[in-house]
């Protein structure tokens, strides 16, 4: 059996990141869009922890911690905004958010 190296973890993180990107591109439901962004953040966390481990450095883990903290606050603020939007328009469809006419 092959020894698991840094490349294995990076390939896994890439696959997870690609899954998250697919989700971000194809979802129109805003709640599901938030979930896909969580997958993106988690994929990056795996890559951080793996690189930190294979270089004998704790910086990767530190960055993963701060990413987790940012993800938690992002969800809190994002869901609050989403609730306001739902109370005003009654829908969480992404295509209805075209009031700026860009």
């Amino acid at each position: 059996m092959m020894e698991i190296g840094l490349t294995h973890y990076l390939v896994l993180a890439t696959i997870l990141f690609a899954i998250g990107l697919v989700g971000v591109m194809r979802r129109k439901n805003l709640l599901m869009l938030f979930m896909a962004s969580e997958i993106l953040l988690n994929a990056v966390n795996v890559a951080f922890a793996a690189i930190g481990h294979y270089y004998g450095d704790l910086t990767g883990q530190m960055f993963a911690f701060f990413v987790i903290a940012i993800a938690a606050s992002e969800v809190a603020v994002g869901l609050g905004l989403l609730i306001i939007w739902y109370k005003r328009t009654g829908t969480i469809d992404l295509d209805t958010m075209t009031s700026m006419r860009g």
Binding site: E3, L16, R26, L79
Partner: protein, 191 residues
């Protein structure tokens, strides 16, 4: 042993997250994502990042998933939002761009030879202790800033989600609540 664990959890994580992205039911997507988050924490344990694995379980499957579950109660998630595809050229361009970007990001640490440990792991202590040493010496200021950011996010969440919560629905009588409902529908009609 480590090899078997890696492939097992990799397969499970990819399956769970694919289901999250592809499922049209919000509840199924939420549950499979919670399972995927727990599988992700297995990688942290494999990488000797014990503290990070515990934080992953507590924060993601404890706090973030609970937030999503509460969010789902506010929305009418049984009515599926129609997911229609945009133009084929757009999807093709975006995915090609994303693939090139991801390959560039991933190959960076492989081609760079001059990467060394900035903060080497302290010898002779286990992972949570080492994390504590580095976090409260080298990363103390970012840690405090993150704490302030979490406080701001909490207040923002309360302010945004808690509108019209000044009236307690549990202490009101049935008639009062019906009156309130009628007032609200009237307001909506006039708007």
């Amino acid at each position: 042993m480590e090899t078997i664990a890696f492939y097992l959890f990799a397969a499970l994580t990819i399956t769970m997250f694919t289901y999250t992205v592809m499922s049209s039911q919000a509840l199924f997507a939420l549950s499979s994502m919670a399972a995927g988050m727990i599988m992700i924490s297995a990688f942290f344990f494999l990488l000797d990042a014990d503290f990070l694995g515990v934080v992953q379980i507590i924060v993601y499957t404890g706090a973030v998933m609970a937030l999503y579950a509460f969010g789902m109660m506010f929305f009418d998630t049984t009515r599926a939002v129609k997911e229609h595809n945009t133009s084929k050229i757009m999807v093709l361009t975006l995915s090609t761009l994303a693939a090139v970007l991801v390959i560039a990001i991933v190959t960076m640490p492989l081609i760079a030879d001059n990467i060394g440990a900035v903060f080497p792991e302290p010898a002779g202590v286990d992972n949570p202790k080492a994390v504590g040493i580095v976090l409260f010496t080298k990363y103390l200021v970012p840690f405090e800033v993150a704490a302030v950011m979490l406080l701001v996010a909490m207040i923002a969440g309360i302010v945004m989600a808690g509108k019209k919560m000044d009236r307690s629905l549990t202490k009101m009588k049935e008639e009062e609540i019906t009156m309130l409902r009628q007032e609200e529908t009237l307001q909506k009609v006039t708007l």
